[in-house]
Symmetry: C2
Subunit: 406 residues, 2 copies
């Protein structure tokens, strides 16, 4: 299940982008698991990738190819992460890129490879390359929904969103898709996300935009604290809308584009949490009155990762003592617990380090019975704040992760 | 259930220590939940306590009383942690100490209070103090088993051990008990543990011994990464054996005592993991060839806390890619993944950063099918090492923690 997500998407095409998916049998049967995203000539590309030191072979190859700054296609497979596979994995990723490049009439380093799924097994290169002719034959602009479905692993619904804005009098479209449900504590980007716009943006500005977007969206979510080996987030600007190139973040067009992008990235990041493995609750954690954003994030993530907080949320149990215990072990030097307050929704349960006067358990219970719950923690030591989104920890999380390979 | 623990204890008495338990109805009904430990005059006491900044009221009071250096009794209740209760909680803890002190004919600050259980509810002082006459009437030397049972919360079995050694020609006894099953990532000591010996040891040496013991036992275990507000570990030396006081860690008697204590502390710390909430597997994580013990511990704890590693262990799934992903996100600067190897039991699954040649999944499966599993990670960057003990993550962990208050 998921919390607050539609099951159908109806994503808008982006001029200059064609997509297709195919059932190649990488791991799953009878479902699409290979996706090709073809990009118009002159498309600018920016990427951010996992900081996991065991980054997967396709991440290594994608970073290399991205540096060449002339990207014409993405080749994505679900079901096998091609991680922990050493030099062989890198050769396998390159072989897939070469096979697609030959068919599209471009160079191998114009193709970015991506993989997601089981770690530590060799990529079935032949099954992928043999599926490419059929896949390329199906390429079309109006296939974002199919692509969002083709990159899924344990996701229960395809996830994507479109937004439009007007720049230089022209309608600009942004469409983004994302997959990811477990092994989610992005430390750069979430598992796989592709966002494209027909705006024309210089590469340095596009990269700066992507860095900011990831920092305030994907990097503020967590499901289980495990950072993937394959996290990749790609932003493409085809320029096919015909607007003049945005070359500076001070331009009016940039400000408009940035706001629309922020909508898209926040939606995508939160969608991952809403479709987290075993999720039954969507949780927003606000930490306020901290000395820095980093400090607020430390506290928010400590609470978000606590298995005891997460199981209480699953149980709809207003057991706020577990939140207090998590705040107390967060790495905040010299925290004065006498200044800490905790709210469940609008209900204050802890004020200045002690039981809030007049608090009745049924007030907390009413908040916890909702599907979407906000926890606010005020530290009373500064003026900064941060928000993190997370999920609860349920029987189904265990089921999904104990039975993933069986 | 638990892994590899006996359900009956038969602990040895320690001269100078008398114990009793009583069903006071603090939270549970029809089971002992208040324990008194009476200590002979001149007993030396040492303690280590949680580093959670929201430390519970009894922890604050115990630290104060311990400084007075004349401890005659411990008063322990299960079912209510008296944490997050502010000034009222401190007054409640003191009231309990005073009630016991009056009955034992000592001062309030000769009594150490301890509480474990639900956080954020007021301690039922009256129920505890009204139970004390019955409890004191039952005090006897041979009641360690009853005390180990009386301090339990979600523990499934009472946990304790005795060891003997010979110092200055006299038989010295050490008996220790421990409770703790969830909210376990001791950052000082685990939930509640009381260890007593009839050796005579000076207070400074006793404290130094305790610090070392906790550091290499309790502080190397984790169940769920959540540090309790109430962690307390107390070591008492009654001196009733009649040996000369051990005043220096270079004395031969100290060396003998230390070795026997190490057995006791390692057993107690591992017993907590063996009785962890929902445990089905006892896991040992060895990290080798690191540049420092601290670095090895960082890697070991990152793996030990990974929900994906823990659910794979629960499923007996040799999905070592999850171990690799956890190692890759551990905070080790400049980790060269090309030098990292991973073994499940004696089976090498990853050698020098890539799939180990010749590895067959059934080899890993055979290791994972066992109740006790050792994971060895070699970093290839130094000569230091560390070992951490942990449990798996099962449906029953969710059940226990989602239903704890219901």
């Amino acid at each position: 299940m998921s919390v607050g997500l539609e099951t159908s998407l109806k994503l808008l095409p982006v001029k200059g982008v064609r997509l297709a998916s195919v059932a190649a049998g990488v791991r799953y049967t009878d479902r699409p698991d290979v996706v090709v995203i073809e990009l118009a000539d002159q498309t600018r590309a920016a990427g951010v990738f996992t900081r996991n030191r065991f980054c997967a072979a396709p991440v290594i190859v994608s970073k290399e190819h991205l540096a060449a700054n002339s990207i014409r296609a993405c080749l994505v497979n679900a079901g096998n992460a091609n991680a922990g596979t050493g030099e062989q994995g890198i050769a396998d990723a390159r072989a897939c890129c070469m096979a697609l490049a030959q068919r599209l009439g471009c160079e191998t380093d114009n193709v970015l490879p991506f993989s997601t799924g089981i770690i530590g097994e060799r990529l079935p290169v032949k099954r992928i390359t043999e599926s490419l002719d059929e896949c390329i034959g199906n390429l079309k602009e109006d296939a974002w929904d199919a692509a969002a479905t083709g990159i899924m692993t344990t996701d229960t619904v395809p996830k994507g969103i479109s937004r439009q804005c007007v720049i230089q009098g022209k309608t600009i479209t942004i469409t983004g898709i994302v997959k990811g449900s477990g092994m989610i504590r992005p430390n750069m980007a979430t598992l796989l996300s592709y966002i494209a716009t027909d705006a024309r943006v210089s590469q340095p500005v596009l990269q700066e935009l992507l860095n900011e977007m990831v920092s305030c969206s994907f990097n503020r979510t967590t499901v289980d604290g495990d950072t993937s080996t394959n996290d990749s987030c790609l932003l493409f600007a085809t320029g096919a809308s015909g607007i003049d190139e945005i070359k500076d973040i001070k331009e009016h067009g940039y400000v408009i584009l940035r706001q629309a992008m922020l909508d898209v990235f926040l939606w995508l990041a939160q969608a991952i949490v809403r479709d987290a493995e075993g999720v039954t609750k969507f949780i927003t954690i606000n930490v306020q009155d901290s000395t820095s954003t980093a400090e607020a994030l430390e506290v928010a993530f400590t609470v978000a990762h606590s298995p005891l907080v997460k199981t209480a949320l699953f149980a709809s149990d207003p057991n706020w003592g577990r939140i207090l215990a998590a705040v107390g072990r967060a790495p905040v030097p010299d925290l004065d617990v006498g200044k800490v307050s905790i709210l469940l929704g609008d209900v204050c349960v802890l004020r200045d380090g002690a039981l809030a006067a007049g608090y009745q358990e049924q007030q907390g219970q009413a908040v916890m019975d909702e599907d979407e719950i906000t926890i606010t923690i005020t530290l009373g030591r500064g003026t900064e704040q941060a928000t993190v989104w997370t999920s609860d920890l349920s029987y189904d999380y265990i089921k999904i992760n104990a039975e993933y390979r069986s």
